[in-house]
């Protein structure tokens, strides 16, 4: 059997082998990183989530296969789960509403101001995430002009913004806005303006052109932007911690408290896993619905 393989074919195999080895070498640093900082912690976290408490000793756990940790954790904390998805969902929608026109402007209308505007988009990131969120405490403070203004119009149910869900959503929207703007900009900037002219030439008004050409072609950016906003916003706990009350706690806060304060490692780990699974399911359904694999 071996003898019938022509010499050229054998040679060809050698060449492809060498090529594919280069590929593996390129992957090596990334894979190592993933193994050490994702795969191994992932497994230990999963094992922790199944541990059982040692009787009489708080904060000590023994390896077990206690699957009931999951339903128990869910039963106790499902309101925070729902709140996380709702807050993150609203923040993502708001960020999209704010970011799309801005990204559109930068991509199509900004001209020579384009580079400057992009720098301005990421400029706040030069200050720390924590610092920026603290700043929002001042901005939304009870005596601040924003709260005073809305109170004057009698628009606030609790007569305040700080320490309410509104403040948490505002903080989330603000903090993740650049992650929405940048992919949107990248997608919009790639659209050939001649396509818009062609659409205009083919009896499409400005609105029809947006609906039929610009929007579908920007969908990859919309999908990327919403994911980059929604996923970290769901797991975030800083905004809720600093801007919300105990009534506005998100799942991130619960996990953090369980780990650090209650030292209830199995519950915290189980919650982490449920959060991951829920996000994965949501993201996959979303990508399916958006039909991005169909797009260029």
């Amino acid at each position: 059997m071996v003898a019938v393989v022509p010499a050229t074919a054998a040679k060809g195999t050698v060449v492809t082998q060498r090529k594919s080895r280069t590929g593996y070498f390129l992957l090596l640093p990334g894979m190592t990183w993933l193994a050490i900082f994702f795969a191994i912690p992932f497994v230990t976290l999963f094992m922790t989530s199944l541990q059982a408490p040692v009787a009489g000793k708080s904060g000590q756990y023994t390896p077990a296969f206690q699957l009931s940790n999951y339903p128990d954790a869910l039963a106790e904390y499902w309101p925070q789960f729902m709140r996380s998805f709702i807050y993150a969902g609203i923040a993502t929608a708001l960020a999209l509403l704010i970011a799309y026109p801005l990204a559109y402007f930068i991509a199509f209308k900004a001209g020579r101001w384009r580079a400057l505007m992009l720098v301005l988009v990421i400029a706040p990131s030069f200050a720390s995430f924590l610092l920026r969120t603290y700043a929002w405490k001042t901005i939304l403070a009870d005596e601040g002009f924003i709260t005073t203004f809305f109170n004057y119009l009698h628009l606030l149910p609790d007569d305040r913004i700080l320490n309410t869900g509104i403040a948490v959503i505002a903080g989330l929207t603000y903090n993740f806005l650049p992650f929405m703007i940048l992919p949107l900009y990248a997608a919009l900037e790639k659209i050939d303006p001649r396509l818009l002219e062609a659409s205009n030439d083919l009896y499409a008004s400005a609105f029809a052109t947006f609906r039929k050409i610009t929007w579908p072609l920007s969908l990859p950016g919309v999908v990327a932007g919403t994911l980059l906003t929604f996923i970290p916003a769901t797991g975030d706990y800083i905004n809720s911690e600093l801007l919300g009350s105990t009534q506005d706690r998100m799942i991130g806060n619960v996990i953090q408290t369980n780990f650090i304060e209650f030292r209830d490692y199995p519950t915290a780990s189980a919650l982490s896993f449920v959060l991951m699974a829920a996000i994965l399911v949501l993201v996959f359904t979303y990508i399916r619905r958006a039909g991005t694999e169909d797009l260029v």
Binding site: L195, E197, N200, D201
Partner: protein, 383 residues
């Protein structure tokens, strides 16, 4: 079928059309009527204003002043999507997220046509792309994409179809094929085609009427043969094909011929082929109208022919013809094309030769222009 459609095609009128970009007039007081149903070519080097003219007709650019109308209807102030004018873009600009069928159906759908299938299928049939209906544009070859672009525009039965360098991105062989294809489609549908190109050969093969544009103005307008045979300006003489030009002074005039003295040599130009009004005349002759002879054969020249003497400095054999570059006694180089009818009978570099041609091919242009003014531009445009 498409050709059975009741159509009421009307002339396209441009009146005093001007477009300023800053201080520069891209299109300068252009007045032009493009007859209904014609294949009209706007020919010029890049930057001559031809694409700007086209974009103004399409409604993609607002004129600084002037009027555009189709028949009696003034369309100057209509937006692009309100005009019965469609464009085949240079880059095709096919919508990448829509398949071929939807690309072609786009215009009909935007105008609220309910049942698009019959028209789209007929149009895909016309451009021979029916089997490709469900492919995406990036799965098609350049030539196929080009035909989709034509179908997408034509399906709307526009009053005028604008083609902006539509064959520029295709290779030479495909370009020739598409020239014939486009001409066939135009004959079949009878729509007015306005074709913008810098390729003089393309313009001459396809168009009934050519307008040669230069610096925002039309230099000459007419059918391909008459423009080529009788150019009226130095620019046209140099841009559309090549010309040998000699600046001189008129010394005598009679009913049939004028005599021009240039560099001490007398040239005969038919009076009706001379458009110079003054005494300064530029004598012009196309390279393929000239014949090269060896010095001893002087008596073979028919009497009355214009004759020059020079030295061959370059010979290039190009299959169907041989190109000679000949230096005259006053240092000017002229080009002569000779059909390769007889094998082996060619003059060689360094040889003294006679060049002659019949006065009936000679043309006279208004003097005072520099002879080479447009050559560089013509070379840049790939002529």
């Amino acid at each position: 079928m498409v050709q059975d459609r009741e159509r009421n095609v009307e002339d396209l009128h441009l009146a005093n059309l001007t477009k300023m970009f800053g201080d520069v007039a891209a299109v300068d007081d252009l007045t032009l009527t493009i007859p209904a149903g014609s294949f009209f070519a706007l020919l010029g080097a890049s930057g001559c204003g031809k694409t700007t003219t086209l974009r103004m007709v399409a409604g993609l650019e607002d004129p600084t002043s002037g009027r555009i109308s189709i028949g009696e209807k003034d369309i100057t102030s209509l937006r692009a999507f309100q005009r019965q004018v469609n464009t085949v873009f240079q880059s095709y600009a096919l919508f990448p997220h829509l398949d071929i069928f939807e690309n072609v159906a786009f215009g009909l759908r935007r105008r609220g046509v309910k049942k698009v299938e019959p028209a789209v299928n007929a149009m895909l049939e016309l451009v021979e792309l029916a089997p490709m209906a469900r492919r995406k544009p990036n799965q098609l070859s350049g030539g196929q994409q080009q035909r989709v672009a034509v179908a997408r525009a034509l399906i709307n039965e526009p009053d005028v179809l604008l083609l902006d360098e539509p064959l520029g991105a295709l290779d030479l062989k495909l370009r020739r094929q598409m020239q014939i294809e486009l001409k066939r489609i135009q004959t079949e549908v009878g729509t007015t085609f306005v074709h913008v190109t810098h390729d003089q050969e393309e313009a001459m093969t396809m168009a009934d009427t050519i307008a040669v544009m230069n610096a925002g103005r039309i230099e000459q307008l007419g059918d391909p043969a008459s423009i080529y045979e009788l150019p009226r300006t130095v620019f046209v003489a140099n841009f559309l094909g090549q010309s040998n030009l000699f600046a001189g002074t008129r010394v005598s005039t009679d009913a049939s011929m004028i005599e021009v003295l240039a560099n001490g040599i007398k040239f005969l130009v038919p009076t009706e082929r001379n458009c110079a009004t003054g005494d300064e005349v530029i004598v012009g002759i196309r390279p393929e109208k000239m014949t090269v002879l060896d010095l001893p054969d002087r008596e073979k020249i028919p009497s009355g022919n214009n004759t020059l003497e020079g030295t061959v400095v370059d010979v290039s054999y190009a299959g169907v013809s041989t190109q000679y570059l000949i230096t005259l006694s006053w240092g000017q180089n002229i080009t002569v094309f000779e059909q390769n009818v007889i094998v082996g009978d060619r003059s060689s570099v360094g040889e003294q030769v006679l060049v002659h041609w019949s006065p009936e091919h000679t043309f006279g242009l208004a003097g005072g222009e520099t002879l080479l003014a447009t050559t560089a531009q013509a070379i840049a445009a790939g002529v």
